[in-house]
């Protein structure tokens, strides 16, 4: 699968890059929602795994932009949540928008398991 990660925290970005090393997935990591949206249009990932609180364009807004774009209709969105935002998202994200949710803190195994669960070829 093509997986795009969007995370503004350098520590978490590094963890993602190391965790995905050696997996069968093709991965890209960006630091910002706007950058993620641009790359998605060019690169057409299968899954985007995004942080919620980010500059310029947050994870929820990114998910909304994906839903609104006919060219990105098939991209599945996973949110990485920290703080209480996991709970407060309930009212803001319509059901069916998200393919999954990854709660921080997480380790490499949880990340790989999540992607395997979304991979039709797994």
């Amino acid at each position: 699968m093509r997986v795009l990660f969007c995370e503004d925290e350098p520590t978490v970005r590094k963890l993602i890059e190391l965790s995905m090393r050696g997996t069968r997935h093709e991965c890209r990591v960006v630091a910002d929602g706007v950058e993620a949206l641009e790359l998605m249009r060019r690169w057409q990932p299968d899954v985007v795994v995004t942080d919620v609180v980010m500059p310029h364009l947050g994870g929820v807004e990114l998910a909304a932009a994906v839903r609104a774009d006919p060219d990105l209709r098939d991209v599945r969105v996973v949110l990485m949540t920290a703080s209480m935002d996991g709970e407060s998202l309930e009212g803001t994200v319509p059901p069916g928008w998200l393919a999954g949710r990854l709660r921080k803190p997480f380790g490499p195994a949880a990340l790989r398991d999540l992607l395997d669960s979304l991979d039709p070829n797994a």
């Binding site: 503004d8 920290a82 803190p105 997480f106």
Partner: protein, 399 residues
């Protein structure tokens, strides 16, 4: 027979007159002794009668001629339109009774909140208004105090939620590094160099958590005034020099340029706390400006105090955030945008320490770009305490 009838009739009339007098007397007693103010007024608004309770409320002498007043004279100007409109509705028969809370005006000056209940009655002579007035000033004050307390509680509750969200976010982010990197070390074959690098990352994240806890506890102690200041005469220029040396040794490559004033008076201050102020301001400048850029650290005297300015050459502060950068646990766009880890409490700690010294701190966007954080401190401890007292709203000692 005719005489007997006449006598009987006379007795009956006297009995009725007596009964009428008693009824009038009874009503008069009720009218005079009612704790509520009662008045009648013509449809033109002129007062016809007023009981002693109303006279007391309005500050009128007992023998005051109430008929010289109109309702207009006794209602606060800001509330007059509403009261007159309500009376017109009564007069037109659109309402049977009105009950409103408005301010009454005393002819001799002053006003009070009152609950006014009125209706229109028809007497033998004419139609008129009859109204009862209850002084609710005390209740309104209690209500206002309760509203203020409720607003404060809601504000504290929001601050608490922001704190929980912010702290939780910081902890979960740092823990993601600690948990994730340690899992990698446990489960994967890594080069020795990679192991050392991940161990360093884990160490760095653990230290970040420790800093967060230290800052939270420090801010809590400062805010609850649990920290006494150990004042001494402080040479601010020397303090700026020694603190800026630490930044120069930092890895970010920022250049710190000192611009000390030559004639700067010493300040009676807690040296450690003032060092913390300058250090936090410099850390903030480092955090929000590009690596290798210039940070200017200037001092100059002002009135009976000293002003310190830390200016960076970063993107500046969005105008909407200028007032809020010193608020703790407030996630701002610039905070999120920053790629340098921090607890987000440094400037809140600065504000508390400066406040304890009777000074003030604020943020500006410098002409030509970048942000400037400016601290002003009174020179003497006495002036600091006076400023601090004034800030608290109490009169300080006269010097």
């Amino acid at each position: 027979m005719a005489d007997t009838d006449t006598d009987t009739l006379t007795r009956r009339v006297r009995t009725l007159e007596l009964a009428l007098r008693e009824t009038r007397q009874h009503l008069r007693t009720v009218f005079d002794s009612s704790p509520l103010g009662i008045f009648t007024a013509g449809l033109d608004g002129r007062l016809l009668t007023a009981n002693p309770a109303l006279e007391r409320m309005l500050g009128l002498e007992p023998d005051h001629e109430v008929t010289r007043y109109f309702v207009d004279d006794l209602v606060h100007p800001d509330d007059l339109d509403a009261v007159l409109a309500a009376l017109r509705r009564l007069e037109a028969g659109e309402a049977e009774r009105l009950a409103i809370e408005k301010r009454c005006r005393r002819p001799a000056g002053g006003c009070f909140w009152a609950r006014l209940t009125a209706s229109v009655v028809t007497t033998e002579e004419a139609r008129c208004f009859i109204a009862m007035v209850e002084d609710i000033d005390e209740r309104r004050k209690v209500d206002a105090a309760m509203e203020s307390i409720t607003a404060r509680m809601e504000s504290l509750n929001r601050a608490k939620s922001a704190l929980v969200a912010s702290v939780s976010h910081e902890f979960r982010t740092a823990l993601t590094g600690i948990q994730g990197f340690s899992e990698l070390m446990r489960d994967q074959q890594l080069e020795p160099g990679e192991v050392r690098e991940l161990a360093a990352d884990i160490n760095s994240e653990a230290r970040r958590l420790a800093r967060l806890i230290d800052d939270m506890l420090d801010l809590d102690r400062l805010e609850s005034s649990g920290v006494p200041l150990r004042r001494q005469r402080v040479d601010v220029n020397r303090l700026l020099e020694s603190t800026s040396d630490r930044v120069r040794r930092n890895v970010t490559g920022h250049r710190v340029e000192l611009r000390p004033a030559g004639d700067l008076p010493a300040v009676e201050a807690d040296l450690d706390r003032l060092t913390q102020v300058v250090s936090n301001l410099l850390s903030n400048a480092v955090k929000y400006s590009p690596a290798g850029s210039l940070i200017e650290l200037a001092s100059r005297p002002f009135e009976d105090g000293v002003r310190v300015t830390v200016r960076d050459h970063g993107p500046g502060i969005p105008p909407a955030d200028l007032e809020r950068v010193f608020d703790p646990y407030t996630r701002l766009e610039r905070e999120i945008r920053s790629q340098v880890a921090g607890t987000g409490l440094g400037l809140a700690i600065v504000r508390e320490i400066v406040r304890m010294h009777g000074g003030r701190v604020w943020a500006e966007n410098a002409p030509g770009g970048g942000a400037a954080l400016i601290v002003e401190l009174p020179v003497s401890a006495a002036a600091q305490e006076r400023e601090s007292d004034l800030e608290k709203g109490s009169a300080g000692p006269v010097l």
